[in-house]
Amino acid sequence: MERIEVLKTYKLYIGGQFPRTESGRYYIPPGPDGKMLGNICQSSRKDFRNAVVAARGGLSNWAKRPAYNRSQILYRIGEMLEGRKAQFIDELVLQGSSTADAKTEVEAAVDRCIYYAGWCDKFQAVFSSVNPVSSSHFNFTVYEPVGMVAAIAPEDKALLGALGTILPIIAGGNSCVLLASQSKPLCAITLGEVLATSDLPGGVVNLLTGFRDELLPFMVSHKDVNAFVASDLSKTDLTKAREESIHNLKRIIHHQEDMATAESPYLILATQEIKTTWHPIESSISGGSKY
């Protein structure tokens, strides 16, 4: 007798847990051949709010990790991804990619993890500065994570776009809540499973599925969100985002680059604050003895 396949229930990833949406709502995005992809959670603003709380909770731990440790965890994400290549390829194919394209995308995703893993403990050295002030002070400028970042994954390239958005954010010590591609949500959820087994502390990355139109207003207006990142907003949405950002002067970062292909340390800097510290340098007071 033929074995009955066990189907997967797609969930959200919040605070290291895999809940379904509190709203009980779901949507069924169609695949390319019209076949339903599954009952995907249609996250509510409350799910977003909960994810922000989780991300805020995950932030201090993550921001304070040594850069080397963050680097190893990003590398670990790459390792875990490599191990589940087949699953991601299957999902990408389900979502409409050719097998060859899917394979390329997954491999690029693994490599993207390794790329940013390497930057974790290097970008600070490349972009920080020691500033030669005229007074007797030691003055240096370093980057610090901007904090809790809400992000929207590009609609295309479900895996690489999502990872390309998340990785520079977390490489720099931020936590984030990512809204997955609305039409191609499968890999984002599976990505949560990878993250959950990658030594990444719970809450650092939180993944939601649902409708961009519904969640965007809350993502850009929530006053405990320090920055908002996206790359394929419509002009109307971008204007809305900028207008709503003023409640807490949220940083609105709308990348010009295609997040599926772009990789650069400047993308890490996009969600960094710049801190300059001063401290006096004393000099010797004495001229010494003559006798």
Binding site: V126, P132, S134, N139, E243, I246, L249, E273, T277, W278
Partner: protein
Amino acid sequence: MPDPNPWNYSPAPESAKQAKIATRYEHFINGKWTAPAEKDYFNTTNPSTGKKIAEVANGTKADINLAVRAARTAYEGIWTQMGARERGKYIYRIARLIQERAREFAIIETLDGGKPIRESRDIDVPLAANHFFYYAGWADKLDYAFPNRKATPLGVAGQIIPWNFPLLMAAWKIAPALATGNTVVLKPAETTPLTALKLAEIIADAGLPPGVVNIVTGAGDTGAALVNHPDINKVAFTGSTTVGKLIQKSLAATSKRVTLELGGKAANIILEDAAIDQAVEGIVNGMYFNQGHVCCAGSRLFVQESVFDEVMWKLKRRMDTLIVGDPLDKNTDVGAINSKEQLKRIQSYIKAGINSGAEIYQPACELPAAGNWCVPTVFTNVSQSSIIAQEEIFGPVLAVQTFRTVPEVIEKANNTPYGLSAGVWCDKGARLFQISSNLDAGVVWGNTYNQFDPVSPFGGYKESGMGREGGLHGLAAYLQF
């Protein structure tokens, strides 16, 4: 044997003779003094006497249009065509000319804004010259500032500056914009337009091509016309958080780049092992510098309980020695409040502080009869939730709170929407850097306060702004890649 006669300082006023001030100033557009389209002028007054100094053109949309057109033409026709090194040499010239006329600038800054001549002479003017000198050198070295990236200018920058450091803020805005190859339309604050207009004289003397720097004077409407002009590519604003937010909103639908340098309510934290006398000096510099009209003023003082009595005793004594009065007197420590409106605002905060049950201390000092004056003020027994501990007062009013432990003070210090600056006083390096790295602030002064330098980036976290000014990191605000 003790001599009963007190020894006090005689008046030592700086002579204002060196300052050449015209009775009327026009806009500086396309290298020429240009009368306002509406033929409307407003007065700029000396806040220490209330007397009119000069009248200044009131800018309207028509004037802004003219200025932006000049800046655009200069951008496309001249400034971007010129070699970067030549561009730098023009900026160096400006720096040198400011140095040559430093005394005149200091006097006018003090006359127009009310700040003590000691500060305009020793801080504002030299730093402004230094700022031009610093950024001049960047003009032909931008390729080294952004590894693996090609930087190009944005175009025309619209810049709006506040009244607390009129010349210095003009320098902070103009110098990096020019060095990166942009052209500029600058709007100075309406209560302090004179040094920017004197700077226009220098820009003309330096032979800068017409239209590269344009200065249009006026109030909020003039600024709004500039911000909303369709042909500017960049807005740089320093001022209140409220206005900053309005600007951000009004530009939401455009592709204009924005940097905002906004308000603050900085924590200045004194730990028990600090060098208390120097910390007290830092409290005074942090709060009473420029009458407290400083966005990064250390207006929330946190003192560890074990040294609270000593700190307050010393602080009050030090405040007793502050000389409040004629800003032109070389011995004056605290000058005049910039405007009547600002004075009223400060006074209402002082009243609110008293009503909140906080304990007020003001040193005894005689204030001049005319002009806008506020005695340096400190409130103790202040609640964290009190309005004087929450809102930016922008005047010489300090709110003191105590704390017991380091985690407690970090939490209290960060418990504000602002994040511009902070101070930490602690003799133990390990602890100082623990605190400094946990403060949400763009500038942290360890065992010092209110230090500024052109090489040092300045700017805020959270609602204190976006972007940096100064240093290598100040270049990015005027470039695209």
